[in-house]
């Protein structure tokens, strides 16, 4: 089965963020596949390159990078959500005259059309929501 994931949860604020990661890891370890992983809203925070999680907490970003590598799947961020939270890739940093790119490797900026295409390609779409 092909799964598309929509991750809206901020890793600092919601346990849904790690649930999404664990689900993706479980898919990667199974015969199932990922049609895509798309981060929207506060979910994009996991891709912040300058994150420094405490030593006694799991490094979600590094674990996502492993999923991405294992599945040869880019991890995509809603560009509007990313830019308003200061997450920029190299070209965008240059274009806007910013000091540095803030997007971690294995993550990339994408439009909602990308997610909607993943949704069409998937057998199941799972939303990992923001805390209410």
């Amino acid at each position: 089965m092909r799964f598309a994931l929509l991750v809206q949860a901020d890793p600092a604020h919601s346990p849904s963020a790690i649930s999404a990661l664990r689900f993706a890891e479980a898919v990667a370890a199974s015969e199932h596949t990922l049609a895509g992983v798309f981060f929207q809203g506060d979910g994009v925070q996991v891709a912040q390159a300058f994150r420094r999680p405490p030593r006694d907490e799991s490094d979600l970003q590094a674990r996502w990078a492993k999923v991405s590598e294992h599945c040869t799947l880019p991890l995509q961020l809603c560009v509007a959500s990313a830019l308003r939270r200061g997450l920029v890739d190299g070209p965008e940093a240059e274009r806007a005259g910013l000091a540095a790119a803030t997007l971690a490797p294995s993550f990339e900026l994408a439009g909602l059309a990308t997610f909607l295409a993943q949704m069409q390609a998937a057998d199941r779409v799972l939303t990992f929501g923001a805390a209410s």
Partner: protein, 118 residues
């Protein structure tokens, strides 16, 4: 094309979810994905009149809601139960579409191929 139901259940200005629900609905309509928007839970607070989102430094959601038909998001519904739970009278709201009782909401969710919650 898989049909998409977007359930907008967040307050209008508490966080960005309400705006993202509308963005996703408009993007889906632009790509000819059959999209339905349901306002449920705290999401019905987005329908209160006389919003002044711009004073909060963000987009005024009621203006975006009014523009939905222009973006071809035509199937919009409101959960009647969510209004009743919040003592809101339908005639005081800017309703983007018909009210649905709990049974009709359940049928709508069952009929959608993909459901996203915001």
């Amino acid at each position: 094309m898989k049909s998409l139901l977007i359930i907008s259940q967040s307050t209008p200005y508490g966080r960005s979810s309400a705006a993202e629900a509308l963005d996703t609905a408009m993007a889906a309509a632009a790509l000819d994905v059959p999209v339905t928007l349901l306002f449920d839970g705290d999401g019905v607070l987005q329908l209160l009149p006389e919003q002044a989102g711009t004073e909060l430094g963000v987009r005024n959601l009621s203006q975006v809601l009014e523009a939905l038909p222009a973006f071809e998001v035509e199937r919009c519904f409101v959960a009647a139960e969510a209004l009743a739970q919040r003592s809101l009278q339908p005639n005081t709201l800017a309703l983007p579409g018909p009210l649905l009782d709990a049974e009709a909401v359940a049928a709508l969710v069952r009929s959608a191929e993909v459901v996203l919650t915001y």
